[in-house]
Symmetry: C2
């Protein structure tokens, strides 16, 4: 009988061993692709000083941050809290370790972050973010925007089976457009309305524009702008045909053209498209912004997003560190793929072989055999219980693909039979070793 | 100019990318060996309900636990705190997911835990523990005690170069001895004094025994007991010659003999020894206890320890889950090995090759080449800055082993030269690909 509620706290993902093995596999694949593209892994503490975490934030972040209570032995420390993303700690890390880093600093982080959000389906309070960022010193070529997008795409390709669309915009375009229309003072509202446009009926978007006092002509211009999406040439020519003669607008279009063109050169001409509806909520982004969708599963939302920020660490230093990043929220993505049956069928049996010594007399021989097999790359468990051989097979069938009984005769002759626990087929040990 | 203190909080390990790469390598090697021995990985949330965490604890644990403040959106939740080890969450996990698990449940956890300890050298407030545990249902063969010790030893062997000694005892032996001497009521004190005996002069140990009222004869008996250590046969015969006719004592000696004998059969006859000074502080352990030392570096202390517990989850359920575990505290171990120059020389260059396109005209060719090389298992970065070729080589030399310039001619002819950034030697791309 249970004496306690032993469920994890609401909003925390806790997997069975079989699902954990699959989660780990996806995580390792992503991290492997990131590294193969030249990104160096770092790790920052989960606990940071609150003043560092909240130097910029405000809004939801401040409300959702988990503060940590100092203990009797740490009471001299500054106020502390759990990090809510990887970007703030990265900014601190770059300023702190600047002299140990080579710029452009291609960096990856893959760990859990924490947000005390209201519990709801698909939202997690503790969640893996697998990020790549490129940080420049003083300047950073826009080509790196394409680099992080391609890297994240290659990582997703290791396990995402449905078609992906990467929708890309550049915040300079809308910024320049609003300057040209004389709507700078309303830009925060307008960015917000466009950011939400896909989630509400069209009439709602129009009425939101009206509520902040836009004229019919202004609304029409914005609506035309918002409808621009598609292949590079189309998007660029449609943007140019808006006839906006503003430097920021022109630079934004040029950067977008550049990023899309670099992605084309890497075979993503069909996958990466321009789309003026992409805004990314955070005012933090200043150039390229992108989100990744599965058109056959639009309800899943973006599975990977990010963008360019002009200055990573402006709150902590006078120096200028422009950067660009992409992030995969694996905890939510894993759950969503699982809910939609889009995870590869889980191989519950991550153990290759269970050796079953008939009695303690065969332990020594079995230990040696296991060592030899592990040397060949096999994952080998030995059943050391004093149960009957039949029970040991039942155990093996639950966790492993193959099993072998090691009895007096096997020790004497060295002839060992390996049983396929799925098919019941038996093969010689030598053939089993060669088989994989 | 810095505007903030950007150092990590005291007691948190934060590594440069080169050291992080080495840390990750050791961690992955350990986790790989654990898995190859048939242990399944799980992950539990960092944040747990305080009542779960403190169901047993008390003492230091309660003082050092980091409580987490609920946010406006999580205020309905129970009180929460950060886990301080993997054992308590494992107990909760086993009770919660019992029906999804196969017993004996061979499980591994590899993540950071948190203790708000006073800041001091070699102690960390956030630290990796890489654990293996075997959990039985109702019973668990003592052979698994040897299984976790051998598994942890094999993991350490992947990177520990100095000789290791695994010192093993069994708490039943001292428990039985104290019963026989009629000293049960003083057993907590006596376990504590023996646990500290190596850290104080011999006279101090004797005077501590005197202070709790032991007679000269009793002290002599205990001193004789404490001096028993060495190879299996010696230890067992010395223990037997104490002439203690107590069931628990006899069972303890038998279990110790069994564990040491199983380790002998796996080639650890020299490495694994019996040693009655090994106690392990926690009253939690009930049978086998062990610690691992480097005799040439005694000051480092134990680098891996663990033991047998009769009941993992007694605080959460009436069911009986006996278990045995081993733990490597990698954060402290990494720091200690580094301080003693015992880490393998750090290869600062975890990137294989930097490709340097001469201009944007060569980007497309370079992207394709990078993709091909990544397919061959190479870690390939492309320098996309608009710097001069010389500056790009300087960048490459800091992070990578090789570099190649891709110019107009290379694109035309496909003849690509790969420069070894260490030796200056140049080789053909085809030879480079074949070389590793």
């Amino acid at each position: 009988m249970k004496k306690f509620n032993t469920s994890p706290i609401s909003g925390m993902q806790e997997l069975t061993p079989a699902k954990q093995a699959l989660f780990d596999k996806l995580k390792n694949q992503i991290v492997g692709v990131y590294h193969s593209h030249g990104f160096l892994r770092i790790e920052t503490p989960v606990i940071e000083r609150t003043d560092i975490l909240l130097a910029k934030a405000g809004g939801d972040t401040e409300k959702q941050i988990y503060k940590v209570v100092k203990t009797a032995e740490t009471e001299d420390d500054a106020d502390q809290a759990l990090r809510f993303d990887h970007t703030v700690p990265l900014a601190r890390y770059v300023v702190e370790h600047e002299n140990d880093l080579t710029f452009p600093f291609k960096v990856t982080q893959s760990a859990r972050n924490f947000r005390g959000e209201r519990a709801q389906k698909g939202r997690f309070r503790e969640f893996y973010q697998l990020d790549v960022d490129v940080i420049g010193r003083e300047k950073l070529a826009v080509s790196y925007d394409a680099d992080v997008i391609k890297t994240a795409y290659d990582a997703l390709m290791t396990f995402i089976k449905p078609e992906m669309k990467i929708r890309i915009s550049n915040r300079k375009i809308l910024t320049g457009l609003l300057q040209e229309l004389g709507l700078q003072t309303k830009s925060e509202d307008i960015f917000g309305i466009i950011d939400h446009a896909e989630k509400v009926p069209k009439e709602k978007t129009v009425s939101s524009f009206e509520e902040i006092g836009l004229s019919g002509a202004e609304i029409e211009k914005l609506t035309t702008f918002m409808n621009i999406n598609g292949a590079r040439e189309d998007v660029v020519s449609n943007l140019k045909s808006l006839g906006i003669n503003n430097d920021i607008f022109i630079l934004g279009v040029e950067e977008l053209n550049n990023v899309l063109s670099l992605l084309e050169k890497q075979g993503l001409g069909e996958t990466a498209i321009g789309d003026m509806l992409i805004i990314r909520g955070l005012d933090y982004y200043t150039g390229t912004v992108f989100e990744t969708f599965l058109p056959e599963y639009r309800e899943i939302g973006s599975i990977c997003s990010g963008g360019r920020y002009e200055n990573l660490a402006s709150n902590y230093t006078d120096q200028n560190f422009p950067g660009v990043g992409a992030s995969i929220g694996l905890t939510r993505l894993f759950q969503t793929l699982d809910d939609n049956n889009l995870l590869e069928s889980i191989d519950k049996k991550s153990i290759d072989l269970v050796l079953i010594p008939f009695s303690e007399n065969e332990y020594e021989y079995t230990f040696n055999l296991a060592e030899k097999l592990r040397g060949c790359g096999k994952t080998v468990d030995i059943n050391l219980t004093d149960k009957k051989v039949g029970d040991k097979f039942t155990y093996a069938a639950k966790i492993a693909k193959f099993a072998s009984v090691i009895g007096e005769n096997e020790v004497k002759t060295g002839n060992i039979e390996v049983k396929d626990l799925e098919t019941g087929n038996k093969l010689k040990l030598e053939d089993y070793i060669r088989s994989v």
